[in-house]
């Protein structure tokens, strides 16, 4: 059975450009074809046929069950802690598909001819004549176009086509405004990378609920997630922010407020009066790539970013003590307003969030 069958008249084996090999043993040729039980035993053949048909039948049953389940199983039912609908639809679909697949493969393995056949390879390259003819055609074509002889035409063509790449890029310009444009236009409070919604006298309010905070509300060791009051009461019209303005406001304005023993604080240069009774306020946005920071260890005053584990020491101007961040978290200078609530002395004195080229 080792005679190769000729397939489509490929009888010229590839013989050039292949590794030369010193065969230590003569090629024994393809092994004798082994007949399977299904080839020689009609009973085995029938059995295989029935197996395949059974698998197809099971697939059909699963498909029917799938449709039935679609109309009968309610979305709110559960099995264990799994959604009943997802489970039944999924299992029925899986059954329908898997039984079908198993059936087809069983058919191929047991009943289709299992004789391996041989095909000859050809070099990937075209024949030398073809290649020569192609090069000939190419050079004739190029010569007739005169592209080599007329550099003026060629170069002006290249220039004109190349220039078309410019509008392809320029036309993307209106994908968005630049930082400078946003900063100048101020479409919402605190627009632009150098600004946030914080401003002098804006209250520091609790996250989600928006209630203002008095220094006495905080105990030593507390950390509160806070936001600028401006998110709940726009500095422009007193209405709550929504949509883009709210999202941008949060993405730059979110802060953490911590209270620690005043003597534990190592005041930064020029930041001596930025805290109130041991209460400090820092940007919640990581200076690494901008994740909101959330994990606080009160004994060490370390704040850890859950994204890439940059760790900041809140007692020491939020300097980086570990991790990939390079800059401290910006600090918001705090004060107390006439009603005794925590307020910002000003906006942040540096951009919050990740670094960028022109940040300086």
């Amino acid at each position: 059975m080792s005679t190769p069958s000729h397939d489509g008249g490929h009888d010229e084996p590839v013989d050039e450009n292949l590794p030369e090999r010193d065969d230590l043993y003569a090629n024994p040729g393809l092994p004798e074809h082994q007949w399977r039980p299904t080839d020689v035993d009609p009973k085995a053949e029938k059995r295989a046929e029935r197996q395949v048909a059974t698998l197809f039948g099971l697939s059909a049953i699963c498909t029917v069950l799938l449709v039935v389940a679609y109309f009968t199983v309610d979305v709110n039912d559960t099995v264990g802690n799994l959604g009943a609908q997802n489970l039944t639809l999924g299992l029925c679909l899986a059954g329908a598909l898997l039984f079908l697949g198993f059936g087809v493969i069983q058919w191929a393995r047991k009943l289709m001819a299992d004789q391996e056949i041989v095909e000859y390879r050809h070099p990937a390259a075209s024949s030398d004549e073809d290649r020569a003819a192609t090069l000939e055609a190419l050079s004739t074509g190029l010569a007739e176009s005169g592209i080599g002889r007329r550099p003026l035409v060629r170069n002006s063509l290249l220039g004109a086509v190349g220039l078309l790449g410019v509008p392809a890029i320029v036309f993307l310009r209106d994908l968005g405004p630049t930082n400078a444009q946003v900063t100048k236009a101020q479409p919402y409070p605190g627009a632009g990378l150098e600004h946030t919604i914080w401003e002098q006298g804006m209250r520091v309010v609790r996250d989600v609920v928006g209630t203002p905070i008095k220094p006495g509300d905080l105990q030593i060791g507390d950390l509160v997630n806070a936001e600028p009051e401006g998110l709940f009461k726009s500095p422009w019209d007193g209405e709550p922010l929504e949509g883009l303005a709210l999202q941008v406001g949060k993405s730059k304005g979110a802060v953490v407020v911590v209270r620690m023993e005043p003597d534990e604080i190592i005041p930064g240069k020029g930041r001596e009066n930025w805290s109130v009774d041991g209460i400090l306020c820092y940007s919640k946005i990581c200076t690494h790539v901008g994740c909101p920071i959330s994990l606080y260890e009160r004994t060490t005053h370390h704040l850890l970013c859950p994204c890439h584990q940059s760790t900041f020491d809140l007692a020491d101007s939020a300097k980086v003590v570990f991790g990939p961040a390079a800059r401290p978290l910006p600090q918001l200078p705090l004060a107390v307003d006439s009603e005794g609530y925590l307020v910002a002395q000003s906006d942040f004195t540096e951009p919050v969030g990740p670094s960028y080229w022109e940040r300086g």
Partner: protein, 582 residues
Amino acid sequence: MDTSKVASSNTTTAATASKPKRIGAVATWADERLGLAGLAKKNLRKVFPDHWSFMLGEIALWSFVVLLLTGVFLTLWFTPSMGEVQYNGTYEQLRGVHMSEAFASTLRISFDVRGGLLMRQMHHWAAMLFVASMMIHLLRVFFTGAHRKPRELNWVIGCLLLILGTLEGFTGYSLPDDLLSGTGVRAADGFIKATPVVGTYMSFFLFGGEFPGESIIPRLYVVHVLLLPGLLLALIAAHMLLLVYHKHTQWPGPGRTEKNVVGYPMLPVYAAKAGGFFFIVFGVTALLASLLSINAVWKLGPYDPSKVTAGSQPDWYMGWPDGALRIMPGIESEFWGITISWNVMLPILVLPMLMFVILLLLPFLEAWITGDKREHHLLQRPRNAPTRTALMVALMTMYGLFWAAGGNDILAIKLHASINEITYFLRGAVFVGPILAFIITRRWCISLQRKDNETLLHGYETGIIMRSAEGGYSERHLPLPDSKAYTLTARDRDPVVDGFEVDAADANGLPAPGEGRIAALRHRLRTLWYTDNVQKPSQAELEEGHHHSEHEHELQEPLDGRAADGHQFDGHHLVDDESLRH
């Protein structure tokens, strides 16, 4: 065995079709319009060799088809918009919460569209499978040398598929606009901003203004459902066309040479197996989706730029650059009013690009070092190319360590170790680990090569322990059957690297000016590439080995026909008919 009942057609000539006339008529009709008979004649019975490892790429192909099917279903309900709505759907815990339309429609698909959650989970599982199988397929190709001439371009296409598939995954899991994926997009904004000079411009253009803007979800959506799938589809088509044109590689063996391809014909066996396998891949994703919850976005809630969950991690295939980002020391330069964020730029922008370029160039690099310009259609066992195998294992080790770094917080919790120590360890390990892996793998391969030669020369271990008259014990070795010996020796000898080789292009024997240093480097690399490799035995060694084992055989001859396992004395079994020499 009675073979007389077997139809002679059960071989390579077509069995009699049941209704040849109708099929013929349809074929004629089509051919008169399309003229495809010439093409079909060649390809209908095209030969595909059989081996389990050739199935890995098929998993990738079929999971892509599953992605297309389930993806189309999802587009029917998904709203790619960041417009703010108040949720009033079935899922009680989030009722009344403000969220983007994208997130609300994802909840709708999960809770209100029947089969929606199943399709979402199938889509996500198929995406995992798609990327994973591409990676394993890539490893199979490289470890067996299937990337060599003439298949280098198909390797390049495959690498492009891998990177586009990864991007497709990222854009896809960002679409629901949940807290986790939004955090991922937030980090991506940080990466973009770290780009020198144009960072903020790119960020503002991509997001349509300041992060998070209102444009990113619709833009990612178009990229995810149109641009990337289109490119993937075109590249997959090219990948398959080249596969058909080159014909599949095969393992050496009796009757299998560089000049032929042996296997089952496309019609019917391969078509049936591949077609059946499609349903199996499809079915497995359905099974996964029905039993294993994936990306339960309703537990995370909608994206809020001021919130984050602990243990935030991207999907696994984005894990390794994230790991590099985590263990990178925080280095940033500020001068002349500009900031360069090495801590972000190097691990997340430069490193992946570099790794991708290295991956892309591997076949060309290898061909340049070895100087091998021949076509290769027979696969190599990984052990027979020790340096190549070791190189890929080194890259895998690096990948694995970066990937582990991407879960340094999880590792710290599970191992009750300090995250700082794990991070410091990994900073060193990503450099040292690959080197160790390279050395160990290379020596391991060479040992395996030695073992092969041992078997060729002295036969295989039978497991029969002999006791000599003097009381010494030895294991009986028997020569390999010819077919196995042929398979084992069906490999090239490595070229002898001695002195500078002057390339054929250099007809007059003078090195081209300025090429001296490059040629020297190449020579050094080539020497390294082949150093210590074990070649298959020479004819003389083989004969001597055989002679030796024949001699041994003769010595042991008296034992033939004797049962010597000792049990003839204890009555465990009768051993009169047993022989040690079969």
